[in-house]
Subunit: 416 residues, 2 copies
């Protein structure tokens, strides 16, 4: 097994150098071919999905997986249509590679350029959602990265079929290199993936808290993602209470198990907390006043509730207990809003809106590979840009450093 | 010891939230106060440096440190002047924090902003160069990060004195928070630093290969830097030989122990390699034709030499053996230059110039905290920008996701 995985990783590295130099036109051609191929073969994919669903029904019955995992696993016409449209949308996005980020004449005839380029090989680990495989494949191609994917075992039939349809489309795309998209299937493969820092440049886990924590603790490769989503809403002294109620209810009930759902509500002592509490309870939310831990992520229609004495106390509480995902202040006071947004150290800091807006599609990124709570590389929803890095080029004509060290020449550093 | 270090790290984290919200004006004031204070106290610093030098003389005699370490340790009037000017230069640079990187109206009255912000707490480990402490302090302040520094033990008297002069200046700067700059001294402190992923967000080692490798292998905290500097120059079939000779000699002899010195020269088979070899030998360079390993970093006036059959072979060799630092192609053929610069996967890829240009000052970044060969976060010379990340803010007026999920409202994603 080890040898096989190393081969996959090594080949992915080789192919990453090839996809790095593909034209935008060829990458988009490949994406459109993938979309067409999925469309033409959707019945084969539905059939494979039925196999997975049949097995999953047993697992639901035996309690090994829950109904919501089953629902995520299920492909229907709507999901299929979105999946295909998603690939076409990524084809229509701007190429994130080859963008000039800085151009500076260092001296006469000596030009520095900072230019965006792919990262190399991505390792993406996700749970049972077969639509992820198409999205990740499309994002990898558009950003000129090779990728090794490991999906949830519950969706392995669907994943295999989708990948085979995608590979068919790529093999028909003249000039598209082999081994850009790779799929592995076992836990042992994941263990191997985490060791291959020679070949893999970035790991992106998409899944539950346990999966992400396990990965972060077991690899030297940079990991982009988030383990927890402990989001806060602070109802300021100068809040519009109606707005507060509406936003909290949305942030908790619109999709309670999402990472951007609110988990803790902080309310200023001068606000009528009774009114807020009864509105939340009317909306079916369980309000917990003395939670065991302020680090609690409920993933359900429950939230922790606390009265705070001041804006500063709210900021301090959030900076201590937040997972750094997304927080929102509800206030009509612009100064308080500004202070909150500057002082709170999270990937998303909102004013008078629901935390549920933290999402690559809602931000207009076209697609996302996940949401990062890291403090380095990419933070918040990660679209194509987060899958790139940059290199510096210098073009000159025999320029040597000695001339500058000895003062014969000097830099003028003029941005052009 | 453990407890003490944890206290330092915890206090640094607290202070990082305070410096995050300081105005540019106050940060610059602090920097100018530091520069003035060093200027006024330079004799005290020279005295402390003399203590270190005296101890170092013994170490040179007993062979524990070499002459070049001794030279780096020694502060003279020139280094002092540069050190002070360096701090003033950083004060005059643009504030990297609070820059608006994207502003987008998602829908009527719903505005997304991507804004640069500090990373948090930096851990910086460097060898015996007392001027680093001033530079790192200034970069940390300007980028609104707290920092924990561990310098080489050979310069501990100088480091302590410089830090005490800096702290004096900061305590006189009204409104400047405590515990932004922290210094530790022992190996045990470094071991503790590497464990504190709760408090430290980024580690930057500046020093030899062994130090950097040790750190990368012993921490879960992101590490920014480079272990090796195995830089290549490829003399293409269409090279101007005079240019090639001049550039290789500069890249090898101008500062042989620098990380951006060339270690391997690849020459196209149709080029007169004898002429190049004899020019290098005349310049005192030892040319090694069958090196034990193509991964060799000499740090001396030696280089590995290889004849290659084609541009592709050169690119392949570089992508396999380079440390991803900096490579240069010598050619008069624009197509070959373009191909090389696109296909070579290193932080710096040059055309007709010396690899020695890879440096933050030469790039016009004003100052650098190091050079990164990472594929994530920051690559190449890292100045102020590499010490920042960003957050997303959204400002709205009661906007909830339900309206968009149910199609009552829709996003229009208009950049403003």
């Amino acid at each position: 097994m080890e040898k096989i995985f190393t081969n996959i990783a090594e080949n992915a590295k080789i192919s990453s150098k090839k996809i790095a130099v593909l034209t935008t036109k060829l990458k988009n051609k490949a994406l459109l071919n993938i979309a067409d191929s999925i469309e033409q073969n959707k019945d084969r994919i539905f059939d494979a999905n039925k196999l997975d669903l049949k097995e999953a029904e047993e697992l639901v019955r035996s309690g090994e997986i829950n109904q919501s995992t089953y629902n995520r696993l299920k492909l229907d016409e709507n999901k299929m249509r979105d999946m295909i449209q998603g690939v076409r949308d990524i084809a229509s996005l701007e190429d994130p590679v080859g963008k000039i980020l800085l151009k500076r004449e260092l001296d006469e005839g000596l030009v520095l350029t900072k230019i965006s380029c792919p990262i190399g090989v991505l390792g993406i680990i996700f749970e049972a959602r077969p639509d992820v495989i198409t999205q990740v494949s499309a994002l990898a191609i558009k950003s000129s990265n090779a990728v090794i994917m490991k999906g949830g075992r519950e969706s392995s039939n669907t994943n295999k079929m989708i990948m085979s349809v995608i590979q068919e489309a790529l093999s028909k795309t003249e000039g598209f290199p082999e081994n850009v998209l790779n799929q592995v299937f076992t836990r042992e493969d994941v263990a191997e993936m985490l060791k291959q820092d020679k070949y893999i440049d970035l790991i992106i886990p998409r899944g539950g808290n346990k999966l992400v924590k396990f990965i972060k603790e077991n690899t030297k490769i940079p990991v982009l993602g988030h383990a927890d989503g402990i989001c806060h809403i602070y109802v300021d002294e100068f809040a519009d209470i109606e707005k507060a109620k509406k936003i909290i209810i949305d942030a908790k009930t619109q999709y309670p198990s999402a990472c951007n759902s609110v988990e803790t509500v902080l309310v200023h002592k001068n606000i009528n907390d009774k009114e807020i509490i009864s509105a939340l309870q009317d909306a079916g939310i369980e309000v917990i006043f003395n939670p065991e831990s302020w680090h609690k992520e409920y993933g359900d229609k429950k939230l922790s509730f606390k009265i705070v004495g001041s804006l500063d106390e709210a900021i301090e509480h959030i900076n201590e207990f937040s997972s750094g995902h997304t927080e929102s202040i509800i206030t009509e006071n612009e100064d308080n809003a500004r202070k909150f947004m500057q002082a709170v150290d999270s990937a998303g800091v909102y004013h008078n809106v629901s935390t549920r807006f933290a999402d690559g599609f809602r931000y207009g990124f076209g697609a996302e590979v996940g949401i990062s709570t890291n403090k380095t590389h990419a933070r918040g929803p990660v679209g194509l840009e987060g899958l790139t890095i940059y290199k510096y080029t210098i073009e000159g004509n025999g320029h040597i450093v000695k001339d500058y060290a000895e003062g014969v020449k000097s830099f003028h550093h003029r941005d052009i």
